[in-house]
């Protein structure tokens, strides 16, 4: 018994020593003086992971310390963000924050954060969306589609791989008083193949998933659902140009806890802004078909907060949130 107690004592002492020495070291030196962890909120090998790893590599020389990437997948992208928030706000834990888990998912499930709980370093990528039908579909324009849907009292089915895509059809529906039924799929490419197989008539997906089939002519792009025309298909009009005042965008960014001191945030922002211009990083972004776009931290935060409020109303309008 006595033996056990003394062992415990030794263990406790050891722990204390480690903690104390760890703390005192950090305070004395300049930031950053030890490795920084980048928490990626999706699993290894996915698009977000690949670009985040390239970014981590690119930012190392500007920070002067190694940047290790940790994947924390799960909870529809929220697990990684929760993990980042739970870390000490010393600027050594930085997280990839994507638009949907920040602005949309918090309305669907309970998460211990809102977009206001973070400060943002930058936004570095923007997703573009397109509206497409099968090549032999009778619908040549969005108006054709709306007319056809109006003729169906039960509504027309469309496929998409998650929010914010369905907001578009819901809004078109509300505008023209027709009904569209959302068929969720696991991935964007599945949403596209649901149209190819003739199981649904129309899909909204990220351009990266549609492009292949647009190129082979198997899918016909009816509109760009983003605020601008698409680089890859400049002849396709945007929904706005077609008279529907609707656009969705989705972003990838880097954030830290809001309690990180401002001087450290400034250092991180400067380093990541330089890393964004790195050629290797830009190449990876191009390869993964995510248009790279630099959005400064403050603006990115505003995009997320606005999106957070807007999504709540959209979800309520769709009846999936009370």
């Amino acid at each position: 018994m006595k033996n056990k107690k003394s062992w415990m004592l030794v263990a406790v002492c050891l722990c204390l020593i480690m903690v104390v020495s760890g703390c005192s070291q950090k305070k004395a030196e300049k930031f950053p003086s030890e490795p920084i962890t980048l928490i990626v909120n999706y699993g290894g090998g996915g698009g977000t992971d690949i670009t985040a790893r390239a970014l981590a590599k690119a930012v190392e020389p500007f920070l002067g310390v190694p940047v290790t990437v940790v994947n924390k997948a799960g909870g529809a992208g929220t697990a990684g963000i929760i993990e980042m928030k739970s870390k000490k706000p010393d600027g050594y834990s930085v997280g990839v924050v994507t638009y949907a888990p920040l602005a949309i998912v918090p309305h669907q499930m309970k998460v211990p954060y809102t977009p206001e709980d973070f400060k943002y370093i930058m936004g570095y990528g923007i997703y573009r969306y397109g509206l497409a039908v099968k090549k032999d579909s009778p619908y040549k324009t969005v108006d054709d589609l709306v007319k056809a849907a109006a003729a169906k009292p039960d509504g027309m089915a469309f496929s998409a791989s998650g929010y914010p895509q369905p907001f578009v059809m819901q809004k078109i529906g509300a505008l023209k008083n027709v009904k569209f039924n959302y068929v969720p799929t696991k991935s964007g490419s599945e949403a596209a193949t649901a149209v190819l197989g003739g199981h649904v008539e129309v899909t909204i997906a990220v351009m990266a998933d549609l492009m292949q089939f647009v190129k082979t002519g198997e899918l016909r792009l009816l509109a760009s659902v983003s605020s601008d025309r698409l680089d890859i298909s400049p002849n396709t009009p945007t929904l706005k140009e077609l008279g529907y005042d609707i656009a969705i965008n989705s972003y990838m960014g880097i954030g830290v806890s809001k309690n990180v001191p401002d001087d450290r945030l400034k250092i991180l922002r400067e380093a990541f802004a330089k890393a964004f211009k790195d050629q290797a990083f830009q190449d990876i972004m191009k390869k993964t078909s995510v248009p790279a776009k630099y959005i400064d931290g403050e603006e990115f935060g505003k995009l997320c907060s606005d999106g957070y409020k807007e999504s709540e109303q959209n979800l309520k309008a769709m009846g999936v949130k009370k």
């Binding site: 263990a11 009846g319 999936v320």
Partner: protein, 172 residues
């Protein structure tokens, strides 16, 4: 019904050491039938309303299939109970036994592993794994120092190096 539990209680009480039990197939089926029935009712009336928001979507709602499953499980539990009840007088039916010594070892293993999980993030991977591995091996009857020491220290170190160096996974 009450009799079933009573007979089980008697059987448990008869075993020495407290951990062991022995009961017939009929008893087992009646008891699990009742527990499963209670569970499916709980699922239908408590868990589903509590854990699944009542939202309206096209097609069937998120509650539909869980509710259907709960009803199906209730039917199964009744079948199981009736089945077990029908067997109660069968001679030579199967007996399930949780022998005291064996069950104690399983429970002890689970306790050690639970402790291992609790301490994993506190003390770090290497220390806890060495301790847990040593404890388990000793408990299962390994007494030779020549085997205990190399395995308890070597294996965790190899795993640790493999994960952190080769696979680049951060361990606590």
């Amino acid at each position: 019904m009450l009799q079933v539990y009573k007979s089980m209680y008697v059987k448990i009480a008869h075993c020495k050491g407290g951990m062991g039990m022995k009961f017939s197939e009929a008893t087992a089926e009646q008891v699990t039938g009742v527990s499963l029935g209670v569970f499916s009712l709980l699922l239908y009336f408590v868990l589903i309303p509590w854990q699944i928001a009542d939202v309206k979507v096209a097609g069937v709602t998120p509650r539909f299939l869980p509710e259907a499953l709960a009803i199906f499980m209730l039917i199964l539990s009744i079948c199981l109970f009736v089945n077990g009840y029908g067997k109660r007088t069968n001679v030579g039916q199967k007996y399930y036994s949780f022998a005291p010594k064996e069950t104690a070892l399983v429970v002890k293993s689970l306790l050690i592993l639970s402790g291992y999980i609790v301490l994993l993030e506190v003390l770090g991977y290497l220390l806890t794994t060495i301790a847990a591995l040593g404890l388990l091996m000793y408990m299962y009857g390994q007494r030779r120092i020549k085997i205990l020491i190399p395995v308890t220290i070597g294996l965790p170190v190899v795993i640790y190096l493999f994960f952190t160096k080769v696979l680049q996974i951060v361990l606590p």
